[in-house]
Symmetry: C2
Subunit: 213 residues, 2 copies
Amino acid sequence: MSKPDKKSRDAEKVARRRRSLAQAAITVIARKGLPGVTLADVAREADCGYGLVLFHFETKDRLLLAALDALVEEYRAAWHARSDAHDDAVARLEALIDLDLGSAVTDLRHIAVWTAFWAETSRNADYRARFSELNRAYLARLEPLVGTLAEQEPPAADCRLIAGGLSAILDGLWIESQIGHGLGEADWARARAICRAYLGAFFPKSFGAETNR
Amino acid sequence: MSKPDKKSRDAEKVARRRRSLAQAAITVIARKGLPGVTLADVAREADCGYGLVLFHFETKDRLLLAALDALVEEYRAAWHARSDAHDDAVARLEALIDLDLGSAVTDLRHIAVWTAFWAETSRNADYRARFSELNRAYLARLEPLVGTLAEQEPPAADCRLIAGGLSAILDGLWIESQIGHGLGEADWARARAICRAYLGAFFPKSFGAETNR
DNA sequence: CCGTAGACTGACTGATCAGTCAATGACGAT
DNA sequence: ATCGTCATTGACTGATCAGTCAGTCTACGG
């Protein structure tokens, strides 16, 4: 019984180390951008020796991919948690908007990292695969919510287009938050207002002006 | 009279060379991304010696900034041309959407370059200044157009929010076109449909379903 | 026809960095 | 106590690249 015990303890230790390195990579990416990441930076951030980084991830590319995977997983978890906390479609949509444009995921650290990976997407098939899977999953969550609203008040456009538009708005607002550098809470409030106006235009009863909080 | 003549001819020659180098830089950025650009690459692309690049732009950073300026100027020109070609607000908005999501600016070469610069925005104040000025100018064009429509049929939301939302949608659809890698004409048609649905939701008379072409 | 200004060239230098590797330490098993 | 395994370390190597510089070429002015 002690053999599997040790094995599993070791495996967990390794997994923890890998996670800590991926997190360190994310932090460094946020500070220096994808091109600026140095294995030495990551090692320093993770508080370990240089060689260890390449011991766990054989190349820099694999480390960065692991960082992206961690980022995606983090986001997906936050998103499930937020949306599962509510029952009705309106509240779920509000929760998703708050997640993307509230103060939680929203710190610049994260957004800068997303855009860093976006920029490499056209050259890196692995990144592309991660993003298109994430996008697919996101739309698969969004479309039924929009569909539920559509049952109560038929909108002027196809549900898929409405969901696709919301997803695009959220991405676009993220980018614009980068060029605004920082953004105060007022700007985030404006961003959320844009989303609510969008949904309110299609579903005035559910997302009308009185739904402000 | 021959002195100013020569001087101006020389100045033009220099300007042409600088432009050609900036264009070469854009091409290389599209292929290899901002981090991947090498002065040697740019020199090869512009068909000149290595040293010339640094003779005209003292550092790599300045060359990249010039490339961004060229890109912005190109975009702004296309955008003025397109929108000045029409008189009524609806046609102008359609023209802007076609510009961003049609096949002209839309080749991946350009979009990949924009996202490459976006990714560095949080670290580079010069890029940030360019983008926020461009965004400001873009909204300044968009808001009056939306305002004109609003005179005929008052929308459910503030014109500024509607214009901001359209701008965000366009940015977001650009990003998503990157992760789709390439996108066929069908995807661009969907992107345009999303924009038209957006405007149609606020201005059903002007952008209703029958406005398809 | 010479002189010179400035566009243009590419070999060279120094710095940086990914990846290698030989050595060390920690720890459980025997 | 001894061994084996494996995480861990950091000095070293080779490659790459921005930026320098000493020089060439071109064309115009005198």
